[in-house]
């Protein structure tokens, strides 16, 4: 160990450490590990590896409590993505990841590179991506820059996904002023691999070549992971140079080249260069394999001249991968990457020293023992206070100022419930030729596996206003709704990825939101056999001291043995009975009706009864798989009447509804409910009774109107016009 880098001056190093985001005693830990003052490159490596984004230092303590195992889980959290067995020798590989901070600073590139990054996390494991989804939160539409942000994010997601040829099949969007300064962009990719050929990141084999493939390295994105771990202030827009620029064309080539190489046996280990680029990929690959790694940066393909070791190690240039190859396979791999017109370079080799050694221009620039970089990484059990419970709002205590019809018309047009067509019309949802249920057609997207009958059902869900009111119930609800949406198409829910978006964890009340959400998610995952297999945490989503709504977005994946079994939500032709499954108490607290019609955002959110959730859902899925259900839609935001209206607007077929004239019944957001359209209502009701599942008929399909139980009627065409107009009107002068 004679090769040591030139250290910084001690005072300068300490000051830079603080600028790079090292907090409290973290810099002293660096000194203790090294036994000397770090070089600039070393300081950069420590600061990004110990950033919140890479180290999960505030969240790891809590995340460890989540259930991550099931017989069908092949790989849980800790790899590039989660992997589950979906039968017939196939595996689904998936993860959701945030790109919140970059998307605020530069919406198009921020969102685009979010999609690119999550795609790489999935295909790096040997899976061909078959679907993209997203979960978006924007501020009030009239907030400064917000239309520009919405437009840029939607264009960025489309621009990247459309070009790489992975269909964007689903997602969710909310609007709330608390996201004015911190919009959330969470992107999810789902891929398919053979269950016996998954690729992992752990390096092995002393002397094996370390290979760099993909695009060249530039100065973009330096310290992006650090930016993503800090709050915003009034000068945040000056951080634009730390946002990366995406090139989906290179990504497409990288997918094809990796798939081609993975079909050979040349690869020992592979990882994408995401946040913290070459640093995190080399440190993690060597660390997971208990190896050492030596890199010669002169060999890194560079697109700018005069780049320093520090810049190359910290760059977050996109569309790059790091691989460990078996000895002697370099030529095979190089030929494939050159065929796809991508860079290929051997930039180092594995060692048995347990250290990372970086060389550049004949100098050692970094020499760090890997084990303590991980084992002595900061881990904080941050102080937290539980979120105070809110009183239950009695529906009877709230006056109904407008009646059912006027409320429905307003609700279907409000930003949180209006049609998302303006968004999904910009996403190619069909490429691949396997999309059986595209956006708007069903509660979950359904994509068939090529050359199989089998299909995946996928969804993203979270109700942030519930999470703010009660993080634990909100966490439960997010998982339950994902499970419900997969169930509502006939899918068997298998596993989730969680994308935890919160404010500043150094504030005990924010940490309390995080802790509550984790507890709720954990309880729901356990009760529903729906483990967490991958995830991502985004903290410090605050601007000038004000945080976002707690937003633990859940991406759920389930399976259908035969795509022909999938049902959509569109109201079928006349003569189908509409049956409500699940118990209705008329829960108006935190409902959209309460906010939009009564002008109040208060009360406890609807509780999730996990036993009833499971019982009701298993019953509904059984009826769908038995082929007795023509359409199914879960009751979510807006309540029962909005659910029925959405079914009607999807096909243009109306319904005659029966039941009490009561706002709570029609607009309450009680959980664990579905509306089923069936030919044989008595058979369904008898089966429900036998299964102990609450069910009642609420109407019959047919006609062009929704005939309400109070005698009012509204044409489906009028509802659709209101529903469809909102976003186009909002965005008309936006771009």
């Amino acid at each position: 160990m004679t090769d040591l880098p030139i250290p910084l001056a001690p005072e300068r190093a300490k000051q830079l450490g603080a600028e790079f985001g090292l907090k409290g005693d973290e810099y002293d830990r660096v000194l203790a590990i090294l036994g000397r003052t770090p070089s600039l490159t070393e300081l950069g490596i420590f600061s990004v590896m110990w950033s919140e984004h890479c180290s999960y230092k505030s969240s790891r303590f809590w995340l460890k409590q989540l259930p991550t195992k099931a017989p069908w889980v092949i790989q849980g959290p800790g790899e590039n993505a989660g992997v589950i067995d979906i039968g017939e020798g196939l595996a689904a590989v998936f993860k959701m990841e945030s790109h919140n901070h970059p998307s605020f600073i530069e919406p198009y590139q921020g969102a685009a590179t979010g999609v690119g990054g999550i795609l790489r996390d999935v295909f790096t494991m040997g899976a061909r991506p078959i679907a993209n989804l997203n979960a978006l939160r924007f501020g009030a539409p009239d907030a400064p820059r917000m239309k520009q942000i919405i437009d840029g994010v939607v264009r960025g997601i489309g621009g990247y996904g459309n070009c790489v040829g992975v269909p964007t099949v689903g997602g969710e969007v909310n609007f709330h002023p608390r996201y004015n300064g911190n919009p959330l962009v969470n992107a999810m990719t789902v891929g398919i691999a053979r269950a016996d050929s998954i690729f992992y990141a752990a390096a092995s084999g002393v002397g094996n070549p370390v290979v760099y493939v993909g695009s060249k390295t530039g100065r973009d994105g330096i310290h992006g992971a650090t930016m993503a771990s800090a709050e915003f202030d009034a000068n945040s827009e000056e951080k634009r140079p730390t946002v990366q620029v995406g090139d989906p064309f290179s990504e497409k080539l990288l997918i094809e080249a990796c798939m081609e190489l993975m079909a050979t046996d040349a690869i020992v280990a592979i990882q994408d260069m995401g946040a913290a680029g070459l640093t995190s990929s080399s440190v993690e690959m060597a660390g997971k394999g208990d190896m050492g790694i030596e890199l010669v940066l002169d060999n890194v393909p560079q697109r700018e001249t005069g780049m320093s070791a520090y810049e190359m190690m910290l760059s977050e240039s996109q569309e790059r991968m790091l691989m460990i190859l078996k000895p002697g396979r370099e030529a095979v791999a190089e030929a494939i990457f050159h065929k796809w017109e991508l860079d290929f370079a051997v930039i180092g080799h594995l060692t048995d020293t347990g250290r990372i050694v970086i060389r550049h221009k004949g100098q050692v620039e970094a020499n760090i023992e890997l084990a303590p970089l991980e084992s002595q990484a900061p881990l904080y059990q941050r102080p937290w206070v539980p979120t105070p419970k809110l009183p239950v709002l009695e529906a009877a205590s709230v006056a109904d100022p407008v009646g059912l019809k006027a409320a429905l018309l307003k609700l279907v047009a409000c930003p949180d419930l209006c049609s998302r067509r303006w968004i999904w019309d910009q996403y190619d949802s069909m490429v691949g030729g396997q999309t059986a249920k595209r956006p708007g057609a069903a509660d979950a997207a359904v994509v068939r596996v090529e050359d199989h009958k089998r299909a995946l059902a996928m969804t993203t869900d979270c109700t942030p206003r519930y999470c703010l009111a009660d993080p634990e119930e909100g966490g439960k609800q997010a998982v339950a709704e994902a499970w419900r949406n997969i169930t509502a198409v006939g899918g068997l829910p298998l596993a989730i990825t969680d994308n935890m978006n919160f404010g500043n964890p150094e504030k005990p009340e924010i940490m309390g939101q995080f802790a509550g959400a984790v507890m709720g998610i954990g309880a729901a995952c356990t009760a529903l056999d729906f483990p967490v297999v991958s995830g991502n945490v985004s903290l410090y989503n605050e601007t000038e001291g004000r945080g976002i709504l707690p937003t633990p977005a859940i991406g759920g994946v389930g399976v259908l043995e035969d795509v022909a079994q999938a049902v959509g939500l569109a109201m079928p032709e006349a003569g189908h009975a509409l049956v409500l499954v699940g118990e209705t108490r008329g829960w108006l607290g935190q409902s959209i009706w309460l906010r939009e019609i009564a002008g109040r955002e208060d009360g406890a959110p609807p509780p999730v009864d996990l036993l009833a959730e499971r019982r009701n859902g298993d019953f509904v899925r059984g009826r769908i798989l038995a082929g007795t259900v023509a359409a199914c839609h879960d009751c979510a935001d807006g309540g029962l009447l909005v659910t029925v209206a959405e079914m009607a607007m999807a096909s243009g077929v109306g319904a005659k509804l029966e039941g009490q004239d009561d706002k709570g019944f029609w607009f309450g957001e009680d959980q664990g409910r579905y509306v089923l359209a069936v030919r044989d209502a008595p058979a369904l009701l008898a089966a429900a009774a036998a299964a102990g599942v609450p069910a009642r008929q609420i109407g019959v399909s047919g006609g062009g109107d929704l005939a309400l139980p109070n005698g009012e009627a509204i044409s489906v065409a009028e509802l659709s016009a209101a529903h469809e107009a909102t976003l186009p009107n909002l965005m008309r002068d936006g771009a």
């Binding site: 489309g158 621009g159 070009c163 040829g165 064309f249 796809w340 190619d428 030729g433 059986a436 068939r448």
Partner: protein
């Protein structure tokens, strides 16, 4: 019949196209790499599928049109060979000079991914002979640059010579402005060469060939292709 699918860097609907052709022929057609300078012997049909060849950088289809394989395709077409270009494939055929006109950015300046309906203007082509005369069928579009442009004289000539094969219409068959989402001249969705053996269109009928995915409205196009070469021997 024997079809081959061209593969350029950035092509992304080749598998969709292969599945559609397999549905009518029973075999998955081979992929032909852009760097090849000759086509496999005995091809009846060359297909240029959709995607973003060369990232759509410079201009959609412009760089792919300069590929070695495109010289072979031009020779193949000149000898009376059949060529189908869909979406980016249509853009490449135009850039290669195998079809007239230009494809501009959509009038809305946005990528458009949505259902569209097309009227089959003539059924005496090798690509449309299984449609009923005047048929209207549903498909999907997914493009940012599908706004077909020809100047007034060229548009008039295309119409007069019957080279407009597919036109955007309402589900009822009316060629209205509302049905013409990308702003194409005369609602043009697809045109053929003067000998009717080269067809380019923007929408993706290869995504409407399976009742379990998005219906079978696009199937007659592939059945036409299959039938054309079955009768031709």
């Amino acid at each position: 019949m024997k079809a081959g699918i061209l593969l350029f860097p950035g092509t992304n609907r080749e598998r969709d196209m292969a599945l559609a052709l397999q549905r009518v022929t029973g075999v998955k057609p081979p992929m032909i790499w852009h760097g090849e300078s000759t086509l496999p012997a005995g091809l009846d049909l060359v297909v240029l599928p959709g995607g973003f060849s060369y990232g759509d950088y410079l201009r959609c289809g412009a760089m792919a049109a300069q590929s070695p394989i495109m010289r072979a395709v031009a020779e193949f077409a000149a000898k009376g060979g059949h060529v189908l270009g869909v979406c980016n494939g249509f853009q490449i055929l135009i850039e290669a000079g195998l079809l007239p006109g230009a494809l501009l950015k959509n009038a809305s300046l946005r990528f458009l991914s949505m259902d569209c309906h097309m009227k089959v203007e003539r059924t005496d082509t090798p690509f449309t002979n299984r449609f009923k005369p005047g048929a209207v069928f549903r498909s999907t579009m997914a493009h940012g640059d599908g706004n077909y442009f020809a100047d007034a004289a060229m548009a008039a000539r295309l119409e007069a010579e019957g080279q407009v094969v597919l036109r955007y219409v309402t589900p009822e068959g009316a060629a209205t402005e509302a049905a013409n989402r990308n702003g194409s001249v005369n609602n043009i969705a697809g045109i053929c060469s003067a000998n009717r053996r080269v067809l380019g269109l923007m929408p993706h009928p290869e995504n409407q060939v399976d009742p379990l995915i998005d219906g079978t409205d696009g199937l007659p196009l592939f059945e036409s292709i299959s039938a054309s070469f079955a009768t031709a021997g």
